[in-house]
C-alpha cells in the first residue's frame, strides 16, 4: 500500500513505517502484509470492523507483539530495539480501561507519570494534562466512583502526561456520547497542532472525517490508505452527481447517458427514490453538461447537485468492493 501522501511525508518525516508487516498466531494470520508510512504531525485514523486486526497492528507498532515477518519502525527504530528514551517519546491508551479503581484520578495520573520517569516536580504538568481532558476539580475522586466518560478522559490523560511525540490511541471514543467524542477529536486536533503524531483506531467510520489520513482494514489486510476525501473518490471512482428528473429516461436514453463523455465508465444508477446517480470525473464541469443533456431530451430536472455519501456508506461500499474483488480472484484461481 502506498504512503498516504509522499509530499507530506517528505516534508515532515515519517514517524511510523511498516512494510509487509505480518503477524500470525499459530496458523491464523491476524495482520497480513501491512505497508504504510505515517508522517509526523498528522492524525492517522485506523478504521475497520471489530476483530479485523487494528489492535494487533497497534501492539506491533508499540513492541508489545513481535512481528512474524516484515518491517516495522516507529521514530526510526524497530520496536525490539526501543530504548527507555524511545519509549518515553511514545504514549499509549489501550482499548480497555486499565486504571486502578481504588486510587484517585490524581494518583492514577501520577502513577502513569512515574512509569514514564517524569521528574518529581510535576504538579503543574499533572494539573495541565487534567485540565486538557477537563478533569480539573475531580482530582480527589476515586476512579471507581467516576463515570465512563471521565474514565476515558483519565486514560487519555495518562497517555499524554509525559508529553509524548507519538500517541497511540486504541478506540479512545468507544462507548462515549457524541458530545464527548467531538471534544476528544478537538483534543486530538490540538495535539496535532502541537506537532504530535496520533495513531487512532476507531470503529466509528464517521470519525474518519477528523483524520488527516485514513487506513481501512479488513480481515487483517490494509485495504486502502487515503485522505478522507480521497477515500470517497477512490471508492466511488470519481465525483457523484445526484439528479432528480421529472420522469426517468427511457431505455434508449439511459444507454445514451451511459455513453456520454462526461459520465465515467458508464456509471449511472437509479436510486430507490427514482433519482439518478451519475459518476463523473469532475462535478463542477460535468453538472452543466448533465443539465444540458437532460434539457435536450425534454427531461425537466427538479433537483441536481453533487452527492457526498457518509463515511459509513463509503466504508460499506469499500468492503463490498473488496468482497467482490476477492470472489473474482477466487473464481479466476478456480
Amino acid at each position: 500500500m502506498a504512503p498516504p501522501s509522499d509530499e507530506m511525508a517528505r516534508q515532515n518525516g515519517v514517524v511510523i513505517r511498516t512494510h509487509e508487516l505480518t503477524k500470525k498466531f499459530d496458523a491464523d494470520v491476524v495482520v497480513d502484509s501491512v505497508t504504510m508510512s505515517i508522517p509526523r504531525g498528522s492524525i492517522f485514523g485506523f478504521i475497520g470492523p471489530s476483530g479485523c486486526g487494528k489492535t494487533t497492528t497497534m501492539r506491533l507498532l508499540l513492541g508489545i507483539y513481535e512481528a512474524s515477518s516484515g518491517v516495522v519502525e516507529v521514530l526510526g527504530r524497530a520496536p525490539d530495539k526501543f530504548t527507555t528514551a524511545d519509549r518515553q517519546r511514545i504514549g499509549y491508551m489501550s482499548q480497555l480501561f486499565v486504571m486502578y479503581p481504588d486510587l484517585t484520578v490524581w494518583e492514577n495520573v501520577n502513577f502513569a507519570a512515574s512509569l514514564y520517569g517524569v521528574p518529581l516536580r510535576r504538579r503543574a504538568r499533572l494539573a495541565s494534562v487534567l485540565d486538557l481532558v477537563e478533569l480539573t476539580g475531580h482530582e480527589g475522586k476515586r476512579v471507581r466512583n467516576i463515570s465512563g466518560g471521565m474514565r476515558q478522559r483519565l486514560s487519555l490523560a495518562a497517555a499524554l502526561v509525559h508529553d509524548p511525540e507519538v500517541i497511540f490511541l486504541d478506540e479512545p471514543t468507544a462507548g462515549i456520547d457524541p458530545v464527548l467524542r467531538s471534544k476528544f477529536w478537538a483534543h486530538f486536533k490540538s495535539l496535532k497542532e502541537m506537532g504530535r503524531t496520533l495513531f487512532v483506531t476507531t470503529q466509528y467510520v464517521g470519525e474518519a472525517a477528523y483524520c488527516d489520513y485514513v487506513g481501512v482494514m479488513s480481515a487483517g489486510q490494509l485495504l486502502i490508505v487515503e485522505t478522507p476525501e480521497g477515500l470517497r473518490r477512490r471508492v466511488l471512482g470519481g465525483h457523484v452527481l445526484r439528479v432528480n428528473p421529472s420522469r426517468l429516461p427511457d431505455y434508449q436514453q439511459m444507454a445514451e447517458l451511459r455513453a456520454a463523455p462526461f459520465v465515467r465508465a458508464g456509471q449511472v444508477t437509479v436510486n430507490p427514490d427514482l433519482s439518478l446517480q451519475i459518476v463523473v470525473d469532475d462535478a463542477s464541469t460535468a453538472l452543466p453538461a448533465v443539465m444540458s443533456w437532460m434539457d435536450e431530451r425534454g427531461l425537466t430536472v427538479t433537483e441536481a447537485g453533487e452527492f457526498s455519501p457518509t463515511f459509513d456508506e463509503v466504508f460499506v461500499m469499500l468492503l463490498e468492493q473488496e468482497q467482490k474483488r476477492r470472489l473474482q480472484g477466487e473464481m479466476s484461481h478456480a
Binding site: 508489545i64 519509549r87 499509549y92 489501550s94 486510587l103 514514564y116
Partner: protein, 501 residues
C-alpha cells in the same frame, strides 16, 4: 544519573501504589490485622486445658464377687471417669454406647480369682465409639491408667495386710532376740547345758520366722530387691544358718560361741528395726515407691495459647504476604495494566522490586501491630531480643512475598491465585509443625515441610519468643536464600511475561 533517578521514581511509584491500594480498603486492613488477633484472643479465651471426662458404664453380673469392688472404686478413679451406673447386661451397654449416651463401657471380669488361679490375668474390656484417632489414643491411655489404678488398689490391700503380718512377725523376732540373749548369757556364764537348750529354741524360732516372713513381707522384699538392698527374707535365712551352726557347735571355745550368739542378737535387733520401719511406711509409698516430677529449664511457664502464638503469627504473616503478592501480578495481567507496562519504559525488575518493597512495608507493619497486640494485649511471653524477632519476621516476609509472586506468575486468574494461596495454607497447616511435630512425618515427606517458609518461621519465632534464644543462623540464612532464589525466578518469569509476544 538521570536514568538512575528515573528508575527510582518508577520503583517508588509501585511502592506507593501498592500501599495506597491496600490502605484504601479499610475492611481488608481490618481483617488483616484485627482478624488474626481476634482469632488468637478467642482461642486463648476458649481453650480449656482439661482432660476429657468420659461418661462410663460398668458391666458386672449381679452375682459377681467383683460387684462390691466396682461399686467402691468406680467413684475413686479420678475426674476422667464419670460413672453412669453398673448394669449386668452387655447388650444394653452396647446400645447406650452406640447411641452415644455414654462414652465408655467397662466390662469387668466376672470372676477374676478363678482366672488368677488358672495363672491368667483377668481382663477389663473397655469399649468406645470414637472415630478420632487422638480420642482413641486418649481412651487407651486412660484405660491403662484405670487398670494401673485398680492394680494399685489391690497392692495397697496387700501392703496393709503385710503390715498386720509384720506386727505379728515382730513379736516373734522379739521372742527370738530374747532367746538369743539367754543363749549368750548362758555361754558367758559357762552354762553349756542351758546355752545348748537356748540355741536349740532359737533355731526352731528362726525357722518359723523365715516361713512367716516369706509370704507377708513379699512386697517389702520386692522394693528392697529393686533398690539392691539385702532382703529381710535373706537376712532371716542368714540368721537362721548362724543359729543352726551355734546349736550344733559344742567344740568351739565358749567365748567364740558367745560372740556368735551376740551377733545373732544384733542381727535380730536389725530385723526388728526393719519391721518397725516397714510398719511406719505409708502403704501408698510401698506400692508406688517411685514417682516422676517434670521440670522445665525455661524461665517461664507456658500455656497452650502461648505455645501456639509464634506459630500462628508465622502462619498468618506467610498467608497474608502470599495472598497479597499472589493477587498482585495476576491482577495486573488480568485487568490490563501489564499491557501498559509493556508499552512503557518500566522494566520487569522495577515492577517487581517496587511491588516487593510496597508489600514488605505493609506486611511488616501488620506483623508489628499483630505482635504488639499478642504480646502486650494477650500477655504472650517475649523472652528474646526484639532485634532478632524483627530479623526473623523480615526473613519470613521476604521468603513469603517471593513465593507469593511466584504463584501469581503461575496463575492466569485471580481465583486461581487464591486457590494456590489456600493450597499453600493447607500444606503449611499440615507440614510446618504448626500442630503436628515434624518428627511425626515420614522423612521424605519432611522435604515438603522444609519447602515452606513458615516451617522456618515457626521454628525461629518459637526459639526467639519462648526460649529467648538467638535465631539459628542456618535457618535464618535458608529463609533469606529462599527469598533470593524465588525473587530471581520471579524476575525471570515477569521479564518473559513483559517481553514481546
Amino acid at each position: 544519573m538521570r536514568s538512575l533517578t528515573q528508575s527510582i521514581i518508577r520503583i517508588l511509584a509501585f511502592v506507593r501504589k501498592e500501599i495506597v491500594n491496600v490502605l484504601r480498603q479499610p475492611r481488608l486492613v481490618a481483617s488483616l490485622i484485627l482478624g488474626p488477633f481476634l482469632i488468637l484472643l478467642l482461642f486463648g479465651v476458649g481453650y480449656r486445658d482439661e482432660a476429657r471426662t468420659l461418661r462410663t458404664l460398668f458391666v458386672v453380673p449381679d452375682d459377681s464377687p467383683m460387684r462390691p469392688f466396682v461399686e467402691d472404686y468406680s467413684t475413686r478413679l479420678g475426674r476422667q471417669i464419670d460413672p453412669r451406673g453398673i448394669i449386668p447386661d452387655t447388650a444394653e451397654a452396647d446400645r447406650e454406647l452406640r447411641q452415644q449416651q455414654v462414652d465408655l463401657v467397662v466390662v469387668v471380669p466376672p470372676d477374676p480369682a478363678a482366672q488368677l488361679n488358672n495363672n491368667e490375668q483377668a481382663t477389663f474390656q473397655m469399649y468406645h465409639y470414637e472415630i478420632d484417632p487422638y480420642e482413641q489414643t486418649y481412651i487407651e491411655i486412660l484405660g491403662r491408667n484405670y487398670i494401673e489404678e485398680i492394680n494399685r488398689q489391690v497392692l495397697l490391700t496387700a501392703a496393709d495386710q503385710g503390715k498386720v503380718e509384720a506386727a505379728a512377725l515382730q513379736e516373734r523376732v522379739t521372742a527370738a532376740r530374747e532367746t538369743a540373749t539367754a543363749a549368750r548369757v548362758a555361754l558367758e556364764a559357762g552354762d553349756e547345758a542351758a546355752a545348748g537348750i537356748a540355741a536349740g529354741d532359737l533355731d526352731s524360732q528362726l525357722g518359723l520366722l523365715a516361713v512367716a516372713a516369706g509370704s507377708g513381707l513379699a512386697l517389702l522384699g520386692g522394693v528392697e530387691n529393686t533398690l539392691g538392698a539385702e532382703t529381710l527374707q535373706a537376712q532371716l535365712l542368714a540368721i537362721q544358718a548362724a543359729s543352726a551352726a551355734l546349736s550344733a557347735d559344742t567344740t568351739t571355745p565358749v567365748a567364740e560361741r558367745a560372740a556368735s550368739a551376740a551377733a545373732i542378737e544384733a542381727d535380730l535387733a536389725e530385723v526388728d528395726g526393719v519391721l518397725s520401719r516397714y510398719q511406719g511406711i505409708d502403704s501408698q509409698v510401698l506400692v508406688s515407691p517411685f514417682r516422676s516430677e517434670t521440670l522445665s529449664i525455661t524461665d517461664v511457664s507456658l500455656g497452650p495459647t502461648d505455645f501456639f502464638v509464634p506459630a500462628v503469627i508465622a502462619l498468618l504473616l506467610q498467608h497474608i504476604a502470599v495472598t497479597l503478592a499472589g493477587l498482585s501480578i495476576v491482577r495486573e495481567r488480568q485487568d490490563g495494566p501489564l499491557e501498559l507496562f509493556r508499552a512503557s519504559p518500566v522494566s520487569a525488575f522495577q515492577t517487581l522490586i517496587g511491588k516487593f518493597i510496597g508489600y514488605l512495608i505493609l506486611t511488616a507493619v501488620i506483623g508489628a501491630v499483630l505482635t504488639a497486640l499478642v504480646v502486650f494485649g494477650l500477655g504472650v511471653p517475649m523472652l528474646g531480643n526484639w532485634g532478632y524477632y524483627a530479623l526473623v519476621v523480615l526473613a519470613l516476609l521476604c521468603a513469603s512475598l517471593s513465593l507469593g509472586f511466584f504463584l501469581s506468575l503461575l496463575a492466569h486468574t485471580d481465583s486461581q491465585a487464591i486457590q494456590y494461596a489456600m493450597l499453600l495454607l493447607l500444606a503449611s497447616i499440615f507440614f510446618s509443625g504448626f500442630f503436628l511435630a515434624l518428627y511425626r512425618l515420614w522423612e521424605p515427606v519432611r522435604a515438603v515441610s522444609w519447602a515452606l517458609p513458615v516451617t522456618y518461621g515457626i521454628n525461629l519465632l518459637q526459639s526467639v519468643m519462648l526460649r529467648g534464644q538467638m535465631p539459628g543462623m542456618i535457618m535464618l540464612g535458608a529463609l533469606f536464600l529462599f527469598a533470593l532464589v524465588f525473587f530471581v525466578l520471579d524476575w525471570w518469569r515477569l521479564s518473559r511475561l513483559m517481553a514481546r509476544q
